[in-house]
């Protein structure tokens, strides 16, 4: 990474300067570190989705899972030195935005009916 980025006229000088000041563990970030953060975000998203009952929080948890996948895609893209991962992330962001628009519309609709965001109030359908 040092050699690769040092060649780049855009970031070369800046990075070598920063790396001399950084602690050693941080300057040698491996793919593992990124994947660990991504997996933690994904797990937190699932746990939050299953335990929280507020509709907006539940939606934010699915967003967290989307971004976890995005982080993994970018890390893998950097690892493989191709752009498939990064272009995938652009599309993921688009879909996430579309879902956010729909989620907020639904939440507003529900709030008008029940004056609450508690998912448990919506239990008319059972069997």
């Amino acid at each position: 990474m040092h050699a690769l980025l040092a060649d780049s006229t855009l970031t070369g000088g800046l990075l070598t300067l920063a790396q001399s000041d950084f602690p050693h563990a941080l300057s040698t970030l491996t793919l593992n570190h990124y994947l660990f953060v991504s997996a933690a975000m994904f797990a937190l998203g699932i746990i939050g989705f299953l335990t929280r009952r507020n509709l907006i929080i539940m939606f934010l948890c699915t967003e967290l899972m989307f971004q976890a996948a995005g982080l993994a895609l970018i890390a893998f893209g950097r690892y493989h030195l191709n752009f498939d991962g990064q272009s995938f992330v652009i599309f993921v962001l688009t879909i996430a935005a579309a879902e956010a628009a729909m989620a907020l519309a639904l939440v507003v609709l529900l709030f008008r009916r029940r004056e609450s965001l508690d998912a448990d109030l919506w239990a008319e359908l059972k069997g």
């Binding site: 990474m1 699915t62 998912a119």
Partner: protein, 526 residues
């Protein structure tokens, strides 16, 4: 570029139709607005016409396009009359009697038909996907419109509740399979499905599949279980099918399920059915995962269906069970690749999707054609008691469709199920075949209960059902029931088509243009 364009002509035509429908549906003239359904039908016919000549495309399943898109178009055409009158019925009546004036903000017809066509466009795009990014976008284009269709399908709170449940679990499912896609990309370094397959093949020859790749496949398959309503993501099915209008429920039972199965077939095709120790099968972790999901889905769907008193919930759980049946075909795989329909699991799944889609329209159309005195569609099993006495053609349609879903010879559903059985037997999956047979027997309980209510039980006196005011839905029911019988005459041809469609282009390791070294997680990036 032009090659890719030639592949997506059906989708382009459907998209153009969608734009036209979106404008026409907002016309102040009621007669013009009512053209929406006809224009959608025309668009679907053109799309089928554009799909049939596409003989050979890229990707792992190069010949899947004509069969899959033709099937999607035909079932879409059958769903159209069933969806008639789902939205805007009260508004149109009020306008015709002069009590209200047209307001574009209160009318939902344009969006409803446009979202229906958008969803089918996404489904067709799924069929021709050859890339993970494409596959993800196509799956989302299939799903996003259905969330809104469920929510606006009736004016009551029940469909809104159904829409919320469907949307939130759908977003969860999408996030899960997206994470799986990310891991697959990480393990292979490409998003192209054929190159992924080549990379997996190279890893397998070099000593074993990458752990991250297998984990990614497993996560993606679990996420896709939402689309096909399989365990562990089946909980929403009954609530959503019951809360949505019958026409939309029928659509939900076909469109996302087909998208999910196409995606599962492609992902399984990317890793290949050549990893078994004793016989050819998927890699052991994926094989065990799919095996458990299939068995659990069949038992869960069928056992829960027995306990229901609502016909819609019975059909929802039976839809869960049908997903379990079809997973058996996925596990069995395409066989030798040169065989007939009877030992090709993928062809069996593709044929089963067609029979299920065609038959399923009929059961929901019968429910949609019966209106209770309070204006709601029939739902409870009491609502169809004595249907034979009051409306014999609807009872007949229900009987034929239910028996076909059950797999009674010589109806269409029988041939779909036999294909699953024989392909699983020739792949050596005897325990799974026993589970499949057992579940087909359990299913007879609740299917015959529906038939008995319609034919043998007297109508409840306090439940008065009267003819629905929408003749198109009766037409959809009769159309579906006659298709269950008439398609038998071309069943041989359809089976041959599905065998052609399942033609699996097994990749070889030298195909990828980049070397795929083992993934070393601790390699510092320098």
């Amino acid at each position: 570029m032009t090659d890719k364009l030639a592949l997506v002509w059906p989708e382009i035509w459907l998209f153009v139709t969608t734009c036209v429908v979106m404008v026409v549906g907002l016309s102040p003239d009621l007669r013009v607005r009512k053209l929406c359904g006809w224009i959608s039908a025309l668009g679907l016919v053109v799309a089928i016409g554009a799909a049939v000549p596409v003989a050979h495309a890229g990707g792992l399943f190069p010949s899947i396009t004509p069969y899959a898109k033709g099937m999607i178009g035909v079932v879409g055409l059958m769903l159209l009359p069933l969806l008639a009158g789902t939205v805007d019925r009260d508004l149109d009546a009020a306008i015709e009697s002069g009590k209200a004036t047209f307001s574009a903000l209160r009318s939902n017809r344009a969006e409803f038909y446009a979202f229906f066509l958008f969803s089918l466009t996404g489904l067709m795009l799924t069929a021709s996907a050859d890339d993970l990014i494409w596959l993800f976008l196509a799956l989302e284009l299939t799903s996003l419109p259905t969330y809104i269709m469920v929510t606006i399908s009736t004016r009551g709170t029940r469909s809104q509740e159904a829409g919320v449940k469907y949307f939130f679990l759908g977003a969860l499912g999408a996030a899960i399979f997206l994470y799986g896609f990310a891991l697959i990309y990480g393990a292979t370094g490409t998003t192209d499905l054929a190159e992924i397959a080549a990379a997996f093949r190279a890893q397998s020859e070099a000593g074993g599949l990458n752990t991250i790749g297998v984990a990614g496949l497993a996560v993606a398959l679990i996420g896709l279980c939402f689309k096909i309503a399989a365990v562990p993501m089946h909980m929403y099915a009954a609530d959503v099918y019951q809360g949505a209008a019958s026409g939309v429920s029928a659509m939900l039972a076909f469109v996302p399920k087909t998208a999910g199965f196409l995606a599962i077939i492609m992902l399984c095709g990317a890793v290949g059915w050549t990893h078994g120790a004793t016989h050819d099968s998927l890699p052991a972790p994926i094989y065990i995962l799919l095996w458990v999901i299939a068995a659990a889905t069949m038992f869960t769907g069928n056992l829960l269906a027995i306990r229901q008193s609502s016909v819609k919930r019975i059909l929802a759980y039976s839809s869960v069970a049908h997903s379990g049946y079809m997973l058996v075909g996925v596990i069995a795989g395409p066989g030798s690749g040169h065989g007939t329909f009877w030992d090709n699991g993928i062809a069996a799944v593709l044929f089963y999707l067609l029979t299920y889609g065609v038959t399923n329209v009929g059961t929901f159309a019968v429910l949609a054609s019966i209106q209770k005195p309070n204006g709601e569609e029939a739902d409870d099993i009491a609502d169809i008691r004595g249907l034979h006495g009051t409306r014999p053609h609807l009872a007949g349609a229900m009987l034929l469709c239910v028996l076909s879903l059950l797999g009674m010879p010589p109806l269409l559903g029988f041939f779909g199920k036999v294909g699953l059985f024989t392909s699983a037997i020739s792949a050596g999956e005897i325990p799974l075949v026993i589970v499949l047979g057992l579940n087909s027997a359990i299913a007879a309980f609740y299917y015959l209960r529906i038939a008995r209510a319609a034919y043998l039980e007297p109508a409840d006196e306090h439940v008065e059902t009267r003819a629905g005011p929408i003749p198109q839905r009766v037409f959809a029911a009769v159309l579906s029931a006659s298709a269950v019988v008439l398609l038998l005459t071309v069943a041989q041809m359809l089976m041959e088509r599905s065998v052609t469609a399942s033609g699996y282009h097994a990749p070889h390791a030298g195909m990828a243009d980049t070397p795929h070294e083992a993934l070393d997680l601790t390699r510092a990036d320098d």
